[in-house]
């Protein structure tokens, strides 16, 4: 019969129509389940992906819950734990910005020498394309993407050019907005700080050892000579390994097989030498400290 296609289509539309209400009624008691009430008039609503039927979010009283990675205009982080801006005015964000809408003026101290701090930091929000390259390549975790999208103003200039004060947010705000990324970042920063602390201590120990060696060097024959970084046993072991690698697999295997016992012995000896070295350094440091505290 002519028209069956149309009738079938109308049936589908009717079913779609009734489905919106049945789904709504099924969910009606819990239409706002999972939403966050901000006060008696405002709410943040999360639309689940299994949503079928009609669900209009009554903006502006209700707003949609944004995913963590939502990006709009960047923000500068003020690290409240340390009490200063994280930004060091390195300028990488200005370099990677595709529309080149970030410009930074580096600060100078009283003597006129540049310091790692921005005196001025502007982002032209009308030009920003929200690509988040600045956040991706900032080495100091100083710039991150904000979620605020209600930025409408009447004049493009100067109101849409954000300066440092407008862009700065406290660390807690960022932590609340990007919880997962904040947690990962804190972990990474703690690890980096630990690394740096350890490196500083090692450097100090090495400097102390060198000073002690120099002080004692006048009386010993090693005076003036720079201590080699690796002992001869270690160097031999490394040379054997490099030679083995160069000769290719089959030959390397035989070479390695023959050099392995020798290399193993050399390696064990090298390891022992390293441990002895570290023990000696620690003993020296302890002696130094004792001397200083004793004095």
């Amino acid at each position: 019969m002519f028209g069956t296609g149309l009738l079938k289509g109308l049936g589908i539309t009717l079913k779609h129509f009734t489905d919106t209400f049945t789904d709504d009624r099924r969910k009606e008691p819990s239409r706002y389940e999972g939403s966050t009430k901000l006060d008696d008039r405002r709410r943040i609503v999360d639309q689940p992906i299994t949503q079928e039927g009609l669900f209009t979010i009554q903006y502006p009283e209700e707003r949609r819950l944004l995913p963590e990675r939502f990006r709009y205009i960047p923000m500068l982080i003020f690290d409240t734990e340390v009490g200063e801006d994280r930004c060091t005015a390195c300028g990488i964000c200005a370099k990677v910005c595709p529309p080149q809408c970030i410009w930074i003026v580096r600060d100078m101290d009283d003597a006129g020498k540049p310091v790692t701090r921005p005196a001025e930091f502007y982002i032209d929000a009308a030009v920003c394309m929200s690509c988040s390259f600045c956040t991706e390549f900032c080495p100091f975790d100083a710039i991150r993407m904000n979620h605020d999208y209600e930025l409408a103003v009447y004049d493009r200039y100067p109101q849409l050019v954000y300066d440092k004060e407008e862009l700065t947010v406290p660390l807690e705000y960022y932590a609340a907005l990007w919880p997962t990324q904040f947690a990962e970042e804190q972990e990474r920063r703690a690890k980096e700080k630990e690394e740096e602390r350890r490196r500083e201590e090692e450097k100090k120990a090495a400097a102390a050892a060198k000073a002690a060696a120099k002080a004692a060097g006048a009386s010993t024959s090693e005076g003036g000579e720079a201590k080699p970084k690796r002992t001869k046993a270690e160097l031999d072991a490394m040379k054997a390994q490099a030679a083995a690698k160069k000769e290719g697999s089959a030959v390397a295997e035989t070479a390695a097989a023959s050099a392995a016992p020798a290399a193993d012995d050399a390696e064990a000896a090298a390891k022992k030498a390293r441990l002895e070295e570290m023990k000696r350094k620690a003993a020296e440091k302890a002696a130094q400290r004792k001397k200083e505290s004793g004095e």
Partner: protein
């Protein structure tokens, strides 16, 4: 380096070059052997060589015609070549598959090149674009006038000596931004009316927009039947709710029947390719989002593949799967959007359109969750993707792919495929044979709706598509109904791929290979990478001279080149059908005009 393999035009070595036995003297050298090897062709033998390639070697698809201005080239490979321009042709075969034939024709300044439209009519719009943006004249072109810029435009924008009105520096990053913080608003450099320069001898006040463009001007003007009636020119102007953007169609009509139709575009031209030359390689990624602005992940993928050819990075497994998942989700959202708007153009006021894009909204929510933005995702990088998926994303995607999307497509199928109005208005309308379509360089769902089973995912698999089991649906009718229905079938195939990809994706792994970093210098050379974007063959042609910025960056946009077929397809149908025919080609003006 390339100069070692570059061959001078000495007759003694001709016999070793391809095609010189069939068309003697055509191929005179080789180029860029390290990256994408190409052949230099003598301009006077170009037509003969193209005819030979099309007829004897069966390279029937002229995919890409573009041009490079080498006047500012700093690399070593171009030493010893005097000609300024290279017109580049990429030819593929839909019948036998295999790699492209790449031809370079060296053109000195002010010289002409024989037009390829005699052999491949699809070179029409592409050569017009080269004429517009570079100024090269193609002899024998039926309609050589500006396409992306307007008639009174002064100069040729993609030439290296042409500077835009708000020009600041040759290459980003601009030195003024840091540490001194200099910034200039473009508006300050473009006071109203002062940024315009006109060509010499061209007076804006005395110029009148011609109404008689070719081929509209060539259609008969009067004399139809017993009464001597006249034909009229109707302008489906750029401001139109159904032209999918700012797009103009001129039609010469006899009553309601179209005698000739000519598309006019360029209202959204943003000089994307010149901006691409100013950007660094990485900075171009968010700009590619804005080409086909409803399918940003696909555009990112094409560009990433093109530059990865020059960078020699390996993409980790998990990133490959993520890329395929994103590309196929993009195909689903594009096809549902397209089906909705074909029906919109047919007059079904938004009901099918909104049914179709309901699931699209959920996929966009998935995109937002993982990349931060619904449409301008900027998610892919060279070597993978920028971040891993969020926890729970794969479960939500599986819910969509196994439950929601098949139901939605079945609902659309039930609603639309049997509908008598769709059939009456769609069957037999906008017919063009498969040979004509391929000759017009059309690609994508249009040729599959004409019976040609050519899909780049099968013909030249990229990005682990060879691991998935899916079919290429084809339909023989090549009319509007077929073009609508093929998109439904392709969306179902995409869901098949998505189900397999979500099943096989490695649970954990790196998602970004290579060294990362925001500035790098690829090897000198060129690369052309193409993907089966939802609208057709999306190709990116990049030329590198070992600098942080691309030397030449060209987008082979499927929407633009598919418009070659709009004129021939509309002849003989009613003006109401012209709107639907355009809808069935499925264009996005961001891609058409760049």
């Amino acid at each position: 380096m390339s100069e070692a393999t570059m061959v001078a035009t000495a007759p003694a070595v001709e016999s070793s070059l391809p095609y010189n036995d069939a068309v003697p003297g055509a191929v005179v050298g080789e180029w860029a052997a390290d990256t994408d090897k190409a052949l230099f062709v003598a301009p006077d033998k170009l037509t003969a060589l193209l005819t030979h390639l099309r007829d004897k070697e069966r390279y029937d698809l002229l995919s890409n015609v573009t041009c490079v201005d080498y006047s500012a080239y700093k690399g070593k490979a171009r030493a010893g070549i005097a000609e300024r321009f290279d017109v580049v042709y990429h030819l593929y075969s839909t019948k036998k598959g295999g790699g492209p034939v790449r031809l370079h024709v060296r053109v000195p300044e002010n010289d002409t090149v024989p037009s390829a439209t005699g052999v491949y009519p699809g070179a029409n719009l592409q050569e017009r674009e080269i004429y517009d943006l570079f100024g090269i004249i193609f002899e024998g072109h039926p309609n050589l006038r500006r396409v992306l810029t307007w008639e009174g435009f002064n100069g040729h924008p993609l030439r290296k000596d042409w500077k835009e009105a708000y020009f600041e520096e040759e290459a980003k990053p601009f030195k003024s931004r840091h540490p001194t913080g200099g910034y200039h608003w473009h508006e300050d450099k473009l006071p109203w009316g002062d940024n315009n320069t006109y060509p010499a001898g061209w007076d804006p006040d005395s110029w009148e927009a011609p109404v008689t463009y070719v081929p509209v001007s060539q259609a008969p003007h009067h004399g139809f039947g017993e009464l001597d009636t006249q034909s009229i020119v109707i302008n489906l102007g750029p401001h139109h709710p159904s032209t999918h953007g700012v797009f103009r169609m001129l039609t010469r009509m006899e009553g309601e029947t179209i005698l000739a139709l000519e598309p006019e575009m360029g209202y959204l031209h943003r000089n994307h390719e010149k901006i691409g030359e100013r950007n660094t390689w990485l900075m171009n990624m968010p700009f590619t989002d804005r080409l086909d602005y409803i399918n940003s992940m696909s555009n990112n993928l094409g560009y990433a593949l093109a530059v990865e050819k020059l960078l020699n990075i390996e993409v980790p497994e998990r990133a490959q799967y993520i890329r395929v998942i994103m590309a196929e989700l993009t195909r689903v959202i594009n096809h549902t959007w397209s089906i909705g708007f074909i029906l919109n153009d047919l007059g079904a006021l938004q009901t099918p359109a909104l049914y179709a894009i309901e699931e699209r909204e959920m996929i966009l929510d998935l995109f937002e969750e993982v990349s931060g933005a619904r449409l301008m995702c900027n998610y892919l990088r060279f070597g993978g993707v920028v971040r891993d998926l969020t926890p729970g994303w794969e479960e939500r995607a599986k819910y969509l792919v196994h439950d929601r999307l098949p139901r939605a497509l079945d609902q659309l199928d039930g609603l639309l495929s049997g509908n008598e109005i769709v059939k009456a208005r769609g069957r037999g309308v906008g017919y063009l044979s498969a040979q004509d379509l391929i000759a017009l360089s059309v690609s994508g769902p249009m040729i599959r709706a004409a019976g040609v089973p050519y899909d780049i995912r099968k013909a030249e698999p990229y990005c682990i598509y060879d691991r998935f089991d899916f079919d290429i649906p084809t339909l023989p009718e090549s009319d509007i109904y077929a073009r609508y229905y093929i998109r439904l079938l392709e969306a179902r195939e995409s869901i098949k791929i998505l189900q397999q990809a979500l099943r096989d994706i490695p649970k954990k792994g790196e998602v970004l290979g290579g060294k990362g970093g925001y500035t790098f210098r690829p090897v000198e050379g060129e690369a052309y990478a193409r993907i089966e974007a939802p609208k057709g063959e999306l190709g990116y042609y990049v030329v590198s001279d070992n600098k942080a910025n691309p030397y030449r960056y060209h987008v082979r946009a499927p929407s633009y080149i598919n418009l070659n077929a709009l004129g021939p397809m509309s002849v003989g149908y009613k003006v109401a059908d012209a709107v639907v025919i355009l809808g069935a080609i499925d264009i996005v003006l961001g891609e058409v005009d760049r």
